[in-house]
Amino acid sequence: MKRKLVTLMALLASLSLAQTPPNTDSHTITVKVPPVLRLSLDATEYLFDFTVGTSVANNSLGFPKATKAAYEVFLDDASKTEQLFAPTSIAETSNDYGTLRINTNQAQWVVKIDTITGNLATPLSNNRLKVHAVKDTGKGDSLTGSPGDKNLAAGTNIIEATSNGQGRSVYKLYYLLEMNINDAFPSDSVYSSTINVVLLLTTP
């Protein structure tokens, strides 16, 4: 009886195999990935205030932060006609730089100073401002050279990936202000001036 059962099972198994269609089945696997370009900034306001502050301290690039005391040190230094100052403070962050983050699945991208709205009132001017980018992590390269080299000017590329730019890239963004010993500021009011810088991220 047991032998008959085994024979029957083997027969059914062979029938089952025989019924398998000779053609293979096919499936469609669809993969959809959106092309993505993401820009994030942690700081949108940089303040240079020479009216207050008793400390003389440098930022992480080695430039003195703008304070009343630091400005007085500069005015008292006969060996210097120019001095680059770092911001007194940057809104919304405790760092002495802004953090710019790019996330993309594109190989090439570029961040440029697109436009500058406004002009610093005299005796200063926009060409007294410098921009400096330092790669923290990720892809691409800074195009700003040594700190203080790159003028803040519309149409200036500051960070770029020409290949393999995919993923997350983080850069530290610094602005510096050049003061000149010959600058003559108004005697009857406190100097104040504001400009807006637009940073443009594109993948061409």
Binding site: L41, A43, E92, S192, S193
Partner: protein, 246 residues
């Protein structure tokens, strides 16, 4: 493994973001017959918990030999492109859609281009002192090629001297060439010693691109034979040269 304080710092950075915008798609390359029309939807996502007002501007552009995007009236697609709306607010953690309508101009040939720029408004600032405010902007490069008018061409030159391999790509045709491929580097004995990839590199019609391909590990000084093999939507291209590594 990521250290806990590194992770914490990353999270704090994310939490403190003042602007966080994502554009999708990141670029558009379209093909239409002259007179044809198409509508595309572009999405802008706001990663923050507050509203983000944005404006849209159209700018004609070209690519420099270094790949920079610069304004140029040549091959201007902008008069034939409409963005709707041109000013809008992206809700907190939300997405806004912008509709781009393109009409391929009759009489034009090859590829035309327009940069659609999405710009966030400046934040309100404090009073007094010297202040720099920063606003972010995302640029969507839109290319339209007129079907039936294409005259594709590409000339490649590879080789020269330097630690990075100089490559010159010239596009005498009238269409955008987006090339992908690699340079294969062989030593004096014919042994392949490096492969230097090129990925989706755009070469503007009537323009040229200069790139320097840097190997992951520097090659020993010497002379190398290089074979460049590239592919675009219009065909395959090859060039050969000699690379002197100092």
């Amino acid at each position: 493994m990521k250290r806990p304080w590194t992770l914490l710092a990353s999270l704090l950075n994310l939490a403190l973001a003042q602007v966080d915008l994502t554009l999708s798609p990141a670029r558009l390359e379209l093909v239409l017959p002259p007179g044809g029309e198409v509508a595309e939807t572009v999405r802008v996502r706001n990663g923050l918990d507050r509203e983000e007002p944005l404006s849209v501007a159209l700018r004609p552009f070209t690519l420099t030999p270094q790949g920079d995007v610069v304004e140029s009236p040549e091959r201007n697609l902008c008069p034939h492109l409409t963005a709707t709306p041109t000013a809008f607010t992206v809700p907190p953690r939300g997405t806004a859609e912008v509709r781009l309508t393109l009409k391929a101009p009759p009489g034009a040939e090859g590829t035309l281009a327009c940069l659609v720029v999405f710009t966030a408004g400046p934040r309100p600032t404090g009073l007094g002192g010297l202040r720099i405010t920063a606003s972010p902007s995302l640029g969507l490069a839109v290319y339209l090629t007129l079907r039936g008018t294409e005259r594709p061409a590409l000339r490649a030159k590879v080789g020269g001297e330097g630690k990075a391999l100089p490559v010159l790509l010239e596009n005498p045709g009238n269409v955008l060439q987006r090339v992908t491929g690699e340079a294969r580097v062989f030593d004096g004995e014919g042994k392949e010693v490096a492969r230097l990839p090129i990925a989706e590199l755009p070469v503007f019609p009537g323009g040229y691109r200069e790139v320097a391909l840097e190997p992951e590990a520097p090659l020993p000084p010497g002379r190398y034979r290089v074979v460049l093999i590239l592919e675009s939507a219009y065909g395959r291209y090859a060039a050969e040269g000699v690379w002197a590594v100092p």
